[in-house]
Amino acid sequence: MTLKWATVVPGSETAVCIGTTGAIRCVLSIPGESLTGAILKRGAIEHVLAEAFCALLLRGWGLPVPRFFLVQESGSVSFASTDAGYPNLSQRLGVDAFPAGSPQHTQVVELAARLACSFPTAALAATADEAIQNRDRNLQNILWDGSDELWIDHAFALGNGAHLPDANKLCDMAIVTGQANALETTAIAQWTALDRTKPSSAAELLEPVADLSANAAFVTARLSQLGMLLLARFPSPRDLLSHP
């Protein structure tokens, strides 16, 4: 895996108006490759770097995350994740069509959450989210094209989401939809199989851009206690010694 740079084709930008991180649809020109569609995110450098680091790390762990490029623009660096082939039929699972708390919202969110937890890589995603302290895995940050899922938007991982409630939203979805046992078991198994060298590998690849050794150390430290962190996300089994 290598770090690659691309250029936005002038005039190709279209606002997407989804989420809070100002995504823009565009076309990228990539050296040695044909033009490709992408989602561009401009913003604070720590968010761009978090996206890049997490994309490298999570792809290294086998989680389906879109291929990405960095874009140099007028003294700043932006993050662009590419469409997986043409046409890109992926849709975000988010359902913000109804007011929160309305009966419609409850019904459709439960359906979407059930789908998300049923994805083959959901447990790995929950494990990875715990490792990178991603508190923002809402339904808008999961793509699905009817066959394959993709996990996106990691700007608020690695401590950038301190303003968000401490939560692993995939675990929460599993609890609400009655899939907690399955996700918990598989997530723990995934943790034991995670390659502990990947965080430092990701930081090394990004060295030309910034020193991300602190991010790598952050993730490595969490990996050593990830089993306990994951167990704490799920309800404890009640037994004779439990307090009522």
Binding site: T14, V16, R25, P87, N88, L89, S90, Q91, R92, L93, V95, D96, A97, F98, S102, P103, Q104, T106, Q107, V108, L111, A112, L115, W144, D145, G146, S147, D148
Partner: protein
């Protein structure tokens, strides 16, 4: 005009109005390119959704990725259904869900759900005017093998989920003449030999030719291998498919009748099914 002459009374004029919204799918998010994919309706006080974008259309548009597109659309329709059920109303369904955009709330007269859906298709979809395709000279070229292969693959997957012990009987081959080439069959066991076919609404003639060819293969295989049962399991459109014209429905009924007659004459049985699930249940029943 003769004052005593009254125009014929069309019952539709007195039929009750039923609410519905067209649902437009935007395949690539953010592009504005949209197709009518179905409707959400409140026919007779009961909310529901119906997909009207035909499988063949999705196949033409997206090829191998059409199954993913189907899954996406079905999930989106399920969300609209759940939202409509939550309130038994279509009023609040004005925002997009999973790339599906609801159109204006309409209320049209209909004497049946089929009639309501047909109205919606005629008002909003170019892809429902399949009569236009019939006006062109139909070329009796062979059906794309892809179409049959997909149906037989789906049947096989469902059947094996229920009866994994039948694995070795799917896709087996046998000779039709002594020392001839081996021909692959959909299913071949010591007890039954079967093919899977599709009666393609826009290509009924080509579908009929394909079915005939398969009946011939089944007849020969039965004779040579001395197999008791020979069956053609054929995917057909539902009789109440709202995207078909009356003429197409008639053509398809005629084609089914013809295939069934020719199968009987050859000592075989034709089993028309409307879903891969039914196809799987039929092959399991025959293999028993």
């Amino acid at each position: 005009m003769n004052p005593t002459m009254r125009p014929p009374i069309d019952g539709i004029a007195d039929a009750p109005l039923h609410p519905w919204r067209p649902l437009f799918w935007e395949p690539v998010s953010g592009t504005g390119e949209r197709l009518l994919v179905g409707v959400v309706h409140g026919y007779d006080g009961h909310c529901g959704t119906v997909r009207m974008l035909r499988d063949e259309t999705l196949d033409c548009l997206f090829g191998k990725r059409s199954q993913g597109a189907r899954n996406l659309i079905e999930h989106g329709l399920a969300l609209f259904r759940a939202a409509a059920d939550a309130d038994t109303s279509l009023q609040v369904l004005s925002s997009a869900l999973m790339g599906i955009y609801p159109g204006e709330l309409r209320a049209t007269a209909a004497r049946s759900l089929h009639e309501l859906l047909r109205t919606a298709a005629l008002m909003h979809s170019s892809l429902a005017n399949l009569d236009k395709l019939d006006e062109l000279e139909e070329v009796d070229a062979p059906l794309p093998e892809e179409v049959n292969r997909r149906f037989s693959t789906e049947v096989k997957e469902i059947a094996l989920s229920m009866r994994p012990d039948l694995l070795n009987y799917f896709g087996t081959s046998t000779e039709l003449v002594e020392s001839g080439q081996r021909v692959k069959f959909g299913f071949c066991s010591p007890h039954v030999v079967a093919h899977f076919s599709v009666l393609y609404p826009v290509r009924p003639s080509a579908s009929l030719r394909d079915a005939r060819a398969r009946l011939f293969e089944l007849q020969q295989a039965r004779k040579l291998a001395n197999i008791q049962l020979g069956a053609l399991i054929g995917a057909v459109a539902r009789d109440d498919d709202a995207t078909l014209s009356d003429r197409q429905r008639g053509q398809l009924r005629e084609a089914r009748r013809e295939i069934a007659s020719e199968a009987t004459a050859a000592g075989l049985t034709y089993y028309p099914v409307t879903t891969a699930q039914q196809g799987a249940e039929r092959i399991i029943e025959l293999a028993a």
